[in-house]
C-alpha cells in the first residue's frame, strides 16, 4: 500500500478547500520509481526482440527457404510473434512505464499497491513469454492482434483489468491533486476500452488447453475482430501514447501544453469516434453495406481530433524550437508527433471506399502501420525513455552522441522502410487491377506481381537493419547509464495534504445570465447547465469519469453490434453451405495453426479484376461455419476463397513439399513437416464436438466415431494422390487433412442439393476404372467446382 505518514498541518485554502469541521493533515509519500525502472528495462529488451523478429520476417520474405523449412520459424508463425511483440511487449511495457511514472506525479501519490504493481509487471512478462512460446508452436487463434489462445487471454484479462486497472483506479481515488490532468483521462479510456475489446473479442468455447473456437462465426466474427483490431490501434497504440505526449512533451519542453481546452476536445472526440471506425477494414467484403459506410464515415471524422492533437503537441513547442535543435529528446517527440499526424491523415484516407478498394490487401497497409508503429509509437517511447532514464538511474546519459545517432539512424531507417513499401503497395494495386483492351487481366499470374516487388522488399530489409541498429544503441546506452548509477538511489519524500472527502467547491453558485429576462424557468436552467460546471465536477470524480467514458464506448459499440447480430438479413443463409467434415475441420485447424491468413485472404470482393482472377465474389452465407473467419488483410499469395477443386490433391501435396516445384518463383516456404508428421485422428473429436455445440449440424456418426469418419475421407484423398503419381499412405500424414480443407473451400456455393439416398462410401482399394478416372478429373482440376463438392459430399 502507499506509504503515507500523516502529520498535522495547514489545510487547503482559497478557491477550494475542505469543509470547516474536517481536520486537514499533511502526508508524506515517496514515488515508486522502482516499478518504472522495471517497465522501462522491459520496454528496451522487448523492443530489441520485437524489431529483431521483424527484421527476420522481412528477410524470410526475400529468402523464404533460409530457415530450412523449420516450422517454428516460418514467416506465417513468426509474423504474429513480431506484431504481438511490437504491440504488447514493446509498446505495452512502454505504456506502463509512462503510466506508472506520470500517474504518480499527476496524482501526487504513490501507486496504491506496490504488490499489485509488481504483480502487474511479472504477470505481463509472463503473458509475453507465453506468447513467445506458443506462437512459434502454432498455438494461435489466427485473428490479427488477437492470436493468443484462451488461457493466455484469461491471464491478460486478469493482469490488465483487475491488477493494473484496479491499482490505477485506486491511485486515482487516493490522489492528492484535485483535478485529474488530461493525460489521466487518456489512461482511463485505455484501461476501460482495452478490457472491453479484449474480453468480448476473445469469447471462445475451449476444445482443449491450446485451442478455443470463437463464439462468433464468419461475418459476425469478422465484425467483432475488426471492432477489436482497429480499436487495439486506437486504445493501445493511440490513447495511452497521447496521454504520454500530454505529460512528457510539456515536461521535456518545460512549458505547459499549448491548449488545455483543445486537449479536452481531443479526448472526447477520440473516445466518441474511434470506437465506430472498425468496419472500414472490411470494405467490399461480405459485411453489410451500412456497417461499412458507418466505419468510413467515422474514420473520416477522425481527421478532426487527430490533427487537433497533433497541432496541440507541436504548438506546445512554440517559442522553444531552438531547444529542439539541441535536445534529442525533443527531436524524437517532434518526429513522433509528426508521424502521428501523417498516420492519422492516411488512416481516414485509406478508409474511403474507392481508395480502400485499391489499397486493401496490398503492402500499402503494411507501410501505413509501420509509419505509425515505428514513427509515432517507437519515437514517442524513445523520447520518453531518453528523458526518463537519467532521472530513473540518477545519473547522466552515458552518451548523448549515441542518442543523437539513434535519432538519425532511426529516422532514416523508417524512411527507408516505408518508402519502398508504399511503392510496393502501389505496384501491387495497379498490377492486380490492370486489364488490357480486351478486358483480360494483364498480370493473370499472381506470382508475377509478387516477384516485381521483391527488390523493394530488399530495401525494406536495409531500413529494418537501421531501425534495429538504433534499438541496439538504446540498449547499449541504457545499460551503460545504469552501470553509472549511484550505489543507492535517492528517494525524496514529498509532503502534501490529503484531499478532503467532503470537497467544497468555492466557485460561486452558477447563475443564469438571463435571470432577469422574461423566459421560462426551463430556459434559465438550460443556461446554467450550459456553463458546464457539471463537467468540471466529473473531472474531479474518477469513478464517475470512468463510468461515463465506458458508456461513451459501449453505446457506440452497441449501435453497431446489435444490428450485426440480430438482423438475419445481414447474413443470408445458403442452403448448400454445410458444416466441414471432421477431416476438413482438422485441416482447417492446421490452416489456422500455420497462420496461412498472414499471406492468403479468403474473401473475393465484388470488383471485376478480383472476380476475373479468383472467381465468383464471396457471399456472407458462405462463412457461417468459419470459426474463426479467415478473410485475411494481406495478399502475399493469391486469395483462396475459391481454392476448392482448382488444383489436384497431389498438386497441393507437391506444393507443400516445395512450392517452387509447382509455382516457380513462389515466395512461399516449404511445409515439409506436414508431409512427415503423422495425423492424430483421435485428436479431431473435440473440434467436432465444439463445432456441433456452436450450431453446426453433425450426424451421430460424426460425433461418436469422429476418427473413423475422418480416416475414411483421408483414405479417399490418399487414393486420389496415389492415382496422380504421389506417395502411398498419404492418409497417415497431416497434409491430407489440410488438402481436404483446401479442396472444400468455396465450393459449397455451387453445390447442388445432395441426393435423397447417399452413395456408399468408397474404399480406396475400390478406386479403379471409371471411378479412378472421375477422381483424376477432379484431381486435374478439369471438373467444375460442384463436381468436387459432390465428391466431398459422397464421402
Amino acid at each position: 500500500m502507499a506509504t503515507g505518514t500523516p502529520t498535522n498541518g495547514p489545510g487547503d485554502a482559497a478557491l477550494s478547500s475542505d469543509s470547516g469541521t474536517e481536520e486537514v493533515r499533511l502526508e508524506q509519500f515517496q514515488y515508486d520509481d522502482g516499478i518504472v525502472r522495471l517497465f522501462a528495462t522491459a520496454t528496451i529488451v522487448w523492443g530489441i526482440v520485437a524489431t529483431l523478429v521483424g527484421l527476420i520476417v522481412a528477410v524470410l520474405l526475400v529468402l523464404p527457404s533460409i530457415t530450412g523449412g523449420l516450422p517454428w520459424f516460418s514467416f506465417a508463425r513468426l509474423r504474429p510473434l513480431h506484431t504481438n511483440a511490437a504491440i504488447f511487449a514493446f509498446a505495452g511495457n512502454g505504456i506502463f512505464a509512462a503510466v506508472y511514472y506520470s500517474t504518480q506525479r499527476l496524482c501526487k501519490a504513490r501507486m496504491w499497491s506496490d504488490v499489485l504493481s509488481r504483480m502487474h509487471f511479472w504477470g505481463w512478462q509472463l503473458v509475453i513469454v507465453s506468447a513467445a512460446i506458443t506462437l512459434p508452436l502454432g498455438i494461435t487463434q489466427s485473428r490479427e492482434y488477437a492470436e493468443l489462445e484462451w488461457p493466455i487471454d484469461i491471464l491478460i484479462a486478469v493482469v490488465w483489468l483487475f491488477i493494473f486497472g484496479g491499482n490505477f483506479l485506486m491511485t486515482l481515488i487516493k490522489r492528492r491533486e484535485r483535478h485529474m490532468y488530461v493525460a489521466l483521462w487518456f489512461y482511463i479510456a485505455t484501461i476501460v476500452t482495452v478490457a472491453l475489446l479484449h474480453v468480448f473479442n476473445n469469447l471462445v468455447i475451449p476444445a482443449g488447453w491450446f485451442k478455443g473456437y470463437s463464439v462468433y462465426a464468419g461475418v459476425q466474427d469478422a465484425f467483432m475482430q475488426w471492432w477489436y483490431g482497429h480499436n487495439a490501434v486506437a486504445f493501445f497504440l493511440t490513447t495511452p501514447f497521447l496521454g504520454l505526449m500530454y505529460y512528457f512533451l510539456p515536461k521535456a519542453a518545460e512549458r505547459p501544453v499549448f491548449s488545455y481546452k483543445l486537449s479536452i476536445i481531443h479526448f472526447w472526440s477520440l473516445v466518441f469516434i474511434y470506437i465506430w471506425a472498425g468496419p472500414h477494414h472490411l470494405h467490399y467484403t461480405a459485411l453489410p453495406e451500412w456497417a461499412s459506410t458507418i466505419g468510413m464515415l467515422f474514420s473520416l471524422m477522425l481527421w478532426m481530433p487527430s490533427w487537433g492533437g497533433m497541432i496541440n503537441g507541436l504548438l506546445t513547442l512554440r517559442g522553444a524550437w531552438h531547444k529542439v535543435a539541441a535536445d534529442p529528446v525533443l527531436k524524437f517527440f517532434v518526429v513522433g508527433v509528426t508521424f502521428y499526424g501523417m498516420s492519422t491523415f492516411e488512416g481516414p484516407m485509406l478508409s474511403i471506399k474507392s481508395i480502400n478498394a485499391f489499397t486493401h490487401y496490398t503492402d500499402w497497409t503494411i507501410a501505413h502501420v509501420h509509419a505509425g508503429a515505428l514513427g509515432w509509437n517507437g519515437f514517442m517511447v524513445f523520447g520518453m525513455l531518453y528523458w526518463m532514464l537519467p532521472r530513473l538511474f540518477q545519473t547522466k546519459m552515458w552518451s548523448e552522441k549515441l542518442v543523437s545517432l539513434h535519432f538519425w539512424t532511426g529516422t532514416i531507417g523508417i524512411l527507408l522502410y516505408i518508402i519502398p513499401i508504399y511503392a510496393a503497395g502501389l505496384m501491387q494495386g495497379w498490377m492486380w487491377r490492370a486489364m488490357d483492351d480486351t478486358g483480360h487481366l494483364m498480370y493473370p499470374d499472381f506470382i508475377e506481381t509478387t516477384q516485381s516487388i521483391v527488390p523493394l522488399w530488399w530495401l525494406r530489409v536495409v531500413g529494418g537493419v537501421l531501425y534495429v541498429s538504433g534499438m541496439l544503441m538504446l540498449g547499449l546506452n541504457s545499460m551503460m547509464t545504469w552501470m553509472g548509477r549511484p550505489s543507492e538511489y535517492e528517494n525524496p519524500v514529498h509532503t502534501a495534504p490529503r484531499l478532503s472527502k467532503s470537497y467544497v467547491d468555492h466557485t460561486p453558485t452558477p447563475t443564469s445570465s438571463i435571470d432577469d429576462a422574461p423566459v421560462l424557468e426551463l430556459g434559465k436552467k438550460v443556461s446554467i447547465w450550459s456553463q458546464m460546471g457539471w463537467h468540471r465536477r466529473w473531472e474531479r470524480l474518477p469513478v464517475r469519469f470512468t463510468v461515463f467514458t465506458t458508456i461513451a464506448v459501449v453505446v457506440a459499440t452497441l449501435f453497431e453490434v446489435i444490428p450485426t447480430f440480430l438482423i438475419r438479413s445481414n447474413v443470408p443463409t445458403i442452403a448448400t453451405v454445410k458444416p466441414y467434415t471432421p477431416l476438413e475441420l482438422a485441416g482447417r485447424h492446421i490452416f489456422v495453426s500455420e497462420g496461412c491468413y498472414n499471406c492468403h485472404s479468403q474473401m473475393i470482393r465484388p470488383i471485376v479484376s478480383e472476380t476475373k482472377r479468383y472467381g465468383e465474389y464471396s457471399k456472407p452465407g458462405e462463412f457461417i461455419y468459419d470459426r474463426p473467419f479467415q478473410w485475411g488483410s494481406r495478399r502475399i499469395g493469391p486469395d483462396l476463397a475459391r481454392e476448392g477443386g482448382k488444383q489436384s490433391s497431389f498438386w497441393h501435396w507437391t506444393h507443400f513439399e516445395n512450392p517452387e516445384n509447382v509455382s516457380p518463383g513462389s515466395v512461399m516456404p516449404a511445409y515439409g513437416h506436414l508431409l512427415t508428421e503423422d495425423m492424430n485422428y483421435d485428436a479431431i473429436a473435440p473440434h467436432v464436438k465444439v463445432a456441433a455445440y456452436l450450431g453446426a449440424e453433425y450426424t451421430e456418426e460424426d460425433l461418436n466415431n469422429t476418427a473413423e469418419v475422418a480416416y475414411k475421407q483421408a483414405e479417399y484423398i490418399a487414393a486420389d494422390i496415389v492415382a496422380q503419381g504421389g506417395p502411398a499412405k498419404a492418409y497417415e500424414k497431416q497434409a491430407v487433412a489440410l488438402i481436404a480443407y483446401l479442396q472444400r473451400v468455396g465450393v459449397d456455393l455451387f453445390a447442388t442439393e445432395e441426393p435423397a439416398t447417399p452413395e456408399e462410401p468408397v474404399a480406396p482399394e475400390a478406386v479403379e476404372g471409371e471411378e479412378a478416372e472421375t477422381i483424376e478429373e477432379v484431381a486435374n482440376g478439369d471438373s467444375p467446382p460442384q463436381a468436387s463438392s459432390e465428391v466431398a459430399a459422397a464421402k
Binding site: 487547503d12 485554502a13 506520470s102 490532468y181 479536452i264 467515422f298 450550459s530 458546464m532 449501435f559 438482423i567
Partner: protein, 58 residues
C-alpha cells in the same frame, strides 16, 4: 422480442443517425470546453510541470 424489434428497424438511415449523435455530443463538449476560464485552463495545463503539490490547489 429484441430480435423482432431490431429487425423491424430501417437501418438505411443508420449512418446519418450516428453522425447526428456524434455532432450533438461533439458540439456539447466543445461548447462546454470553450466555457472553461483561462485561469482554470492555465492551472490545469501546468499540473505536469511540477512534481510537488501546488498550494493553493484548484
Amino acid at each position: 422480442m429484441i430480435r423482432d424489434l431490431v429487425s423491424a428497424l430501417d437501418y438505411s438511415m443508420f449512418a446519418e443517425l450516428a453522425l447526428a449523435l456524434f455532432v450533438v455530443a461533439f458540439a456539447t463538449m466543445t461548447y462546454g470546453t470553450l466555457r472553461l476560464s483561462k485561469n482554470a485552463s492555465d492551472r490545469f495545463a501546468s499540473i505536469p510541470l511540477s512534481d510537488d503539490v501546488e498550494d493553493p490547489r484548484p
